[in-house]
Structures are given as structure tokens and as C-alpha cells.
């Protein structure tokens, strides 16, 4: 009974991994070849000094891509999920902050970015989406293991058990 519960959770975890990871891969991938737009998008939040906005605009898409790949493949799953959750918290704070300051920008979540009239109407939905993805990331981070993760192959927990089994055979 407990085992079925655990394995259901492991499959839910897989689904959460694929959705969140997929979103990251798309979000990062679209921005990597558009660095100018990406830097512009970061700058539009008017939170970071110019030179830092440039670094973030270049580095963030790369990080998004790797977090996405790690989640989809299931390698360093919990670490990637924690990083993913932190990024979503940062984005929610960012969007909430432009909203509060009355700045209307395209969130630049999937490329694009910069000022956009009437953008404020999209903020609630953008925050809701990021909150849902944050929840999915936290779920993955909370699970010891999820289905079809490369981690299970690479760091097979069986090895210690195998060792004690061999020992049993020898003695």
C-alpha cells in the first residue's frame, strides 16, 4: 500500500520534472541566440545596474537551459529542482516588483522583453504560472526519487545492498 503510494508519487514527480524542465529548455533556448533582446529584457525590470543586467542577460538563459536538461533527464534531480524553485521565486519577485512600481513590460520569459503597453494585465497570469511551476519544482525537490531518472542509474542505491549480499554469500 505504502509502496503504491510512493510509486505514484514517483510518476507524478516525473511529470513535474518533464513539464518544468521542458519550460526551462524552451525559455533558455529561445534566448541564447538573442542576447541583445535578453539583456534588454533584464534591463526593462529596472532592478539591476547596467553591467550586471548584461551579465544576467547572457548567463541566465544558459543556466535555464542546463536546469531544464537536468530536470528532463533526471540528473542531479534534487539540486536542479531546488535551483529551479529559486529561479521561479526570483521571477515572481521580479514581476511583482514591476507590477508594484507601475512599469509595463513584456516579462521576457520566453524571449522578447522590453516595454509594452497594457502588459500589466498579463502579470497576474504570469505570476500564477510561475507559482505553479514553483510548486512543481518544490515537489520534485522533496522526493527522494522520481521515475525514469538518470540519477537512479548513475547512483544506484543497490550497490551497498549488493555488497552486503555478497558478504552474506562469502560468510
Amino acid at each position: 500500500m505504502r509502496d503504491t503510494g510512493r510509486s505514484t508519487l514517483a510518476w507524478v514527480g516525473l511529470a513535474a520534472r518533464l513539464v518544468t524542465g521542458g519550460v526551462w529548455i524552451v525559455a533558455g533556448g529561445l534566448k541564447i541566440t538573442e542576447p541583445a533582446a535578453s539583456i534588454n529584457a533584464v534591463r526593462a525590470y529596472q532592478l539591476l545596474p547596467s553591467s550586471l543586467a548584461e551579465v544576467v542577460g547572457i548567463a541566465l538563459p544558459a543556466v535555464e537551459l542546463v536546469v531544464g536538461l537536468a530536470l528532463v533527464v533526471g540528473v542531479f534531480t534534487r539540486g536542479a529542482a531546488v535551483l529551479s524553485a529559486l529561479l521561479f521565486v526570483a521571477f515572481i519577485v521580479g514581476i511583482a516588483s514591476v507590477w508594484a512600481r507601475g512599469i509595463e513590460i513584456d516579462c521576457g520569459c520566453f524571449g522578447g522583453g522590453g516595454t509594452k503597453a497594457g502588459a500589466a494585465s498579463a502579470y497576474p497570469w504570469e505570476i500564477a504560472r510561475d507559482a505553479a511551476l514553483l510548486a512543481a519544482s518544490l515537489l520534485v525537490a522533496s522526493l527522494r526519487r522520481t521515475s525514469l531518472a538518470l540519477d537512479s542509474l548513475l547512483f544506484a542505491r543497490g550497490s551497498e545492498e549488493r555488497a552486503s549480499a555478497t558478504e552474506g554469500a562469502v560468510s
Binding site: 533558455g28 534566448k31 541564447i32 541566440t33 538573442e34 542576447p35 541583445a36 533582446a37 535578453s38 534588454n40 534591463r43 529596472q46 532592478l47 539591476l48 545596474p49 547596467s50 553591467s51 543586467a53 547572457i58 548567463a59 538563459p61 544558459a62 543556466v63 537551459l65 542546463v66 536538461l69 537536468a70 540528473v75 542531479f76 522590453g114 516595454t115 509594452k116 503597453a117 497594457g118 548513475l154 547512483f155 550497490s159 551497498e160 555488497a163 555478497t166 558478504e167 562469502v170 560468510s171
Partner: protein, 248 residues
């Protein structure tokens, strides 16, 4: 006794095997972690390299386009001034309006002192999202430039930004308003009214827009200081302040 020592030898052997196995296991684990981490670093590095390469390419393209003289704009200051500023702008873009407010007087003064040549290159960036005001205003600018010359055109350009409509309601600025501002700048009403109403210089607007787009200008205002994109500032006010202090 002998069976005892045999047993202890066996146990010792088993312990050794177990230790060796554990060691091999630990080594494998470290190698795996290292390998995966290395792969991640390589992907991040590769992605950053692609972005930087693209950025260089974009920048080179923009700089090349800017160094070429443009027929689609108006300049102030001597051609042999030590600094050279090009500003791509859309008459409707609110940041352009803010930048104009924050820099107009200083740039005009610096240009008059011979310290900088400033070239304003208006084009239509926003008509797709906000209606035809950018086209109407840029058309009027082109017409005034042709009929009344660069000095009146510059003044008209300033007036357009001072009386900029909002993106929410760009049609608040009617063709009549454009005519009135053109006349205020020094144009003759009979020379410009018909052209403003019929968009006589629409092709100028299209060509200016194509030129900006070919140059890779993706947003406004795009400022180039001595051929390099200038974006040193968190807000438009900071950007304006930094630009002016670079030129002083």
C-alpha cells in the same frame, strides 16, 4: 583452533573485499558526479559562448550600419566634432520621450560648443502595436525636413516629443496637431498640410525603418556613442546623465 583461524582468515578476507569494493564504489561515484558536473559546465559555457558570439555579430553589424551616413535623419553639431552620437528613436516611444526631455538641452549645448555631433534617426518601430501615429509623425518629419530644411526639422522633432501622445491613445494627436506643430517649428502650412494628410513621405518612413532594421536596431531609443552601443544606466534618467557626462 585451526577451524577458528580459518574462520577468522575468511572473515578478514571478506572485510578486505568489502573495503576494496567500497573504495571502488566511492571512486566510481566521484567520477560520475565529476563527469555530470563537467558536462553541465560545458553546456553552460557553450551556451554563453553562443550568446557572446551572437552579441559580437549583432554589435559589429550595428556599428557598420551606423558608421555609414544615413539620409534618414537630422544632425546637429559640426561633422568633425570629437564625439559622435546617433540616436534611433520612434516618435511614440515613451522612453524616447523621456530621453529627449533629459538630454535635449545638454546635447544642443554640447553640439553648439562643437563637442559632439548628434544625429537623430527617427523610424517606425511601434505602428504594428499602437496604430499609425509613428508613421504619421515620421512622415510629417520627413516632409518638413524636405520643405523647410534641417533646422526647422530638428525643432519640429523636439516639438513632437514635447507633445508626445501616450501609447494608450496615440490618435489623440491628430493630423491637425501635426500641422500646427510643424508651423510652430517654422514650416509653411500650405507646404506641409496636404503631405501630412496624405502621408506623402510614407516611402521615406519605410526606407528609414528598413535601414534601422537592417542595422539590427531592435528597440528604441538605441543610442550609439562613437559607434558603440551606449546603454550605461539602469533608468532612462541615469542613461541620459551618463551620456551627457561622457561628452562634457
Amino acid at each position: 583452533m585451526s577451524s577458528n583461524s580459518k574462520a577468522s582468515a575468511r572473515a578478514q578476507k571478506a572485510a578486505e573485499m568489502r573495503a576494496a569494493q567500497k573504495k571502488a564504489e566511492a571512486r566510481r561515484r566521484i567520477l560520475t558526479i565529476g563527469g555530470v558536473a563537467l558536462a553541465m559546465v560545458l553546456i553552460v559555457g557553450g551556451a554563453i559562448a553562443v550568446s557572446l558570439w551572437q552579441q559580437d555579430k549583432d554589435q559589429a553589424k550595428l556599428e557598420e550600419a551606423v558608421s555609414a551616413a544615413s539620409d534618414y535623419g537630422v544632425a546637429i553639431g559640426p561633422e568633425d566634432a570629437p564625439h559622435d552620437v546617433v540616436i534611433y528613436e520612434d516618435f511614440l516611444c515613451p522612453f524616447c520621450g523621456q530621453l529627449e526631455n533629459a538630454t535635449r538641452d545638454d546635447l544642443a549645448r554640447l553640439a553648439a560648443d562643437g563637442k559632439v555631433r548628434v544625429e537623430y534617426r527617427p523610424f517606425d518601430l511601434l505602428s504594428q502595436s499602437f496604430g499609425d501615429y509613428p508613421i504619421r509623425a515620421t512622415n510629417a518629419f520627413a516632409l518638413v525636413l524636405e520643405k523647410s530644411g534641417p533646422e526647422v526639422a530638428k525643432k519640429f522633432h523636439d516639438l513632437l516629443f514635447e507633445n508626445q501622445p501616450s501609447e494608450q491613445d496615440p490618435d489623440a494627436a491628430t493630423d491637425d496637431d501635426l500641422v500646427q506643430l510643424a508651423v510652430e517649428a517654422g514650416a509653411t502650412e500650405s507646404e506641409v498640410r496636404a503631405g501630412i494628410e496624405s502621408l506623402s513621405h510614407k516611402s521615406w518612413v519605410d526606407e528609414a525603418t528598413a535601414e534601422a532594421s537592417d542595422a539590427g536596431v531592435e528597440g528604441t531609443p538605441t543610442i550609439l556613442l562613437d559607434g558603440k552601443v551606449f546603454q550605461d544606466g539602469r533608468t532612462v534618467e541615469e542613461l541620459a546623465g551618463n551620456l551627457v557626462s561622457e561628452l562634457e
